[in-house]
């Protein structure tokens, strides 16, 4: 299925087809690495869930210390799963949007290798006891320099084609430019300042800013940038409102970074700063609403795509979840809610819905969309397995979210009522059991997906002829600038 896009080379010397622009092997390898890490991270999460059931299979073994595996879970998701998948998707999207190759494919492969070294040595470092006390920045101190260099190289590699491109920039590239700058700054800030420059309360403020910016200035802009790219291309219609796109981008850029301290409300950090963070967080919810409205208006008259196109379904359920988490956030950030839900499983449910229910789902959607092409196949081996993957993952994610949310309320009110501490554990046990089962169902869902990838890679064609016409034009359309 070699598709040559007719209009792609015009005006750019030396590039006659999209094959010259995009190194699809890079996309594929990043996606495979991403899937490998998500399975490791989910296994780590499962192990930790077993610990909360008092059923840990490897008790008393240092390398299997559950606390260490919890860090493998969170860091594996952020740096292994999400970062790898985004790097792959960037390699797909940036050259198409700029009509230029990345700075150097050799550099790309070096980044690929270096990033796997970063993630693997992080896993090894965490398991052997070299964690750093920064949430989501537990990456051992001696790995941080390599990670920063890697992120700078990523920025250079992708910013070169973007800055060289001519004419007006598409929305996606606004998000990407900002994300490349932010990610380097955020990572360096969070991993260095609280460790080497300031301790105490101020280091808490900066660590809170880091946790928040990692989601808001690295994952969110890259995720939304890719949505602005993939959704119109698959739906074959432009984004509904350019004005709302502008509001969404600039609103995020201004308000999102001002939220850091909301992670430590009622802490010794000065109260006026806490109030500021609360107000900025509620402002983010308003911004998010404009973006979500923009995307749902884009879907208008094309609602059938939710049924016929699985990638669109992953994307839009992710957007529904995104709106849910942000709406939840606008409430949970209030001091009233904080009295009860801070430190409870409510927050754990929130972070699962954000990182997996939103960005994980978008990544899975992109993979569903691109992998047959990347594997050189004419279609998925079994689309029914992809349906199983979608429904198992989607329903289990919702179950886990509501389960942990209710668990958080139970815990918070029991604490407030000064219940004996152990009683709050007993009360949490049924919720933790449901969480374990929903997690297992998510893992089973991923096995459907991975089996499908393997079979597609081997057979290169669907197992049974599809009743639906295969729409190949959506995958490689004319690039609009």
């Amino acid at each position: 299925m070699t598709t040559v896009s007719p209009a792609i080379g015009e005006g750019v010397s030396g590039i006659s087809s999209v094959r010259d622009l995009v190194n699809e092997k890079l996309v594929l390898w990043h996606f495979m690495a991403s899937l490998t890490y998500v399975m490791i991270a989910m296994l780590a999460g499962f192990l930790y869930a077993l610990q909360l059931q008092q059923l840990y299979p490897f008790p008393g073994i240092e390398l299997f210390s559950p606390g260490r595996w919890r860090m493998v879970h969170t860091n594996g998701v952020a740096y292994g799963f999400i970062a790898n998948a985004f790097l792959g998707a960037l390699h797909w999207a940036v050259p198409r949007l700029t009509l230029r190759r990345v700075l150097s494919v050799k550099l790309s492969w070096f980044i690929f290798a270096a990033w796997q070294v970063v993630v693997l040595s992080t896993v090894v470092g965490l398991l052997t006891g070299y964690a750093q006390a920064v949430e989501w920045g537990e990456t051992p101190i001696f790995i941080d320099p390599l990670a920063v260099v890697g992120l700078i190289l990523v920025a250079i590699n992708f910013l070169t084609p973007i800055l060289k491109s001519e004419g007006p920039m598409y929305v996606t590239l606004w998000y990407f430019i900002a994300a490349f700058v932010w990610t380097v700054l955020v990572y360096a800030m969070g991993n260095y300042i609280p460790q080497f420059f300031v301790g105490g309360v101020a280091s808490g403020a900066i660590a809170g800013l880091f946790i928040h910016d990692l989601v808001g200035l690295f994952v969110t802009p890259l995720g939304w940038g890719l949505m602005y790219y993939f959704v119109p291309i698959i739906l074959k219609k432009p984004i509904w409102s350019h004005g709302l796109s502008l509001v969404g981008f600039w609103g995020l850029a201004f308000f999102y970074p001002l939220n850091g301290i909301h992670h430590f409300l009622y802490s010794p950090i000065p109260m006026f700063l806490q109030y500021g963070a609360v107000i900025a967080t509620i402002a983010v919810e308003l911004v998010v609403t404009t973006v979500v409205v923009n995307f749902f208006m884009t879907l208008r008259h094309r609602g059938d795509a939710l049924r016929t196109n699985l990638a669109i379904r992953w994307f839009y359920i992710g957007m529904v979840f995104y709106f849910m988490t942000c709406l939840q956030c606008a409430f949970q950030v209030s001091l009233t809610f904080q009295k009860i839900i801070h430190f409870t499983d409510w927050v754990v449910g929130h972070s699962h819905l954000v990182m997996f229910g939103v960005f994980g789902f978008w990544i899975l959607g992109m993979m569903v969309h691109l992998l047959p092409r990347l594997l050189g196949a004419t279609g998925w081996y079994r689309s029914s397995w992809n349906e199983w993957h979608f429904w198992l993952t989607g329903i289990s994610m919702l179950v886990m979210f509501f389960d942990l949310m209710i668990a958080g309320l139970v815990q918070g009110f029991m604490w407030k009522d000064l219940a004996v501490w152990e009683a709050t554990l007993t009360a949490s046990a049924p919720f933790w059991l449901i969480r374990t089962f929903s997690g297992v169902a998510i893992i089973v869902g991923q096995f459907f997906f991975i089996s499908n990838i393997l079979m597609t890679a081997v057979y290169k064609r669907p197992a049974e002829p599809s009743t639906e016409p295969v729409d190949t034009s959506a995958i490689d359309p004319v690039v609009a600038t």
């Binding site: 073994i61 932010w182 300031v198 309360v201 808490g204 850091g260 407030k416």
Partner: protein
């Protein structure tokens, strides 16, 4: 400007980030700039905690092996430092907070509300506020339980708290199931938490029988008046 490369790079990328850092990071930083961070020497200046002496009394041979200096400020500082390393390495702070909030009756459950000054020391770099409370808060944990309780608890938590979901930390113990250097260090660290309070240890009665407490053995000067 709003759609140009330089506008996005400079305003959104650099300026808005810098602004947020000033407001959300630099401002709290500057507010505590006159509150010097205590060094390890400062932390042990008033002497060692009673529980550290108790470890030496309980396990004289092993203690002498792990802390050849004996019960000194230097040994105490070494134990605290190692205990803090373990606390971070095992991510204890993912399930235990070190922060008493002024709401939800937390001061009734654990003791005085946390004060910014309590965190201005090298063992709060980065700060260990915590993020989730599966187990109880620990910032007032010092002397709440005896060393014997902690020795049993770190080894097999359910032996003392049947509903506990805390992992077992067998590698804090030697082959005879006595606490090793790491075990003594983490116990010392946990027993130290909150020992700087004026009313410390207000929830403890008399010291264990048979232990002579020298004048320098206990932190008597309050570093914090809550």
């Amino acid at each position: 400007m709003f759609e140009s490369k330089s506008g996005i790079f400079l305003i959104a990328g650099l300026f808005f980030f810098a602004l947020s850092f000033v407001v959300m990071g630099l401002l709290p930083w500057l507010m505590y700039i006159d509150e010097p961070e205590q060094t390890m020497e400062d932390l042990v200046a008033d002497g060692v905690i009673h529980e550290f002496v108790d470890l030496a009394e309980r396990f004289p041979d092993r203690f002498a092996k792990y802390f050849p200096d004996g019960v000194t400020r230097t040994s105490f500082a070494a134990a605290l430092k190692r205990g803090h390393e373990i606390y971070v390495a095992e991510a204890c702070w993912h399930c235990h907070t070190q922060q008493i909030r002024p709401v939800s009756g937390e001061d009734l459950r654990w003791g005085p509300v946390s004060h910014a000054r309590e965190y201005q020391n090298v063992l709060q770099r980065p700060v260990l506020f915590g993020t989730r409370r599966v187990g109880p808060d620990l910032i007032r944990e010092g002397a709440r339980h005896g060393n014997d309780w902690h020795i049993a608890h770190f080894h097999t938590p359910v032996s003392v708290v049947p509903t506990s979901v805390m992992p077992r930390y067998s590698w804090f113990y030697d082959e005879d199931d006595y606490p090793n250097r790491d075990g003594m260090s983490i116990i010392t660290y946990v027993q130290w938490l909150g020992s700087w309070l004026a009313e410390y240890p207000y929830y403890r009665g008399e010291g264990p029988a048979g232990v002579e407490l020298g004048a320098t053995d206990i932190i008597t000067d309050a570093m914090v008046t809550p």
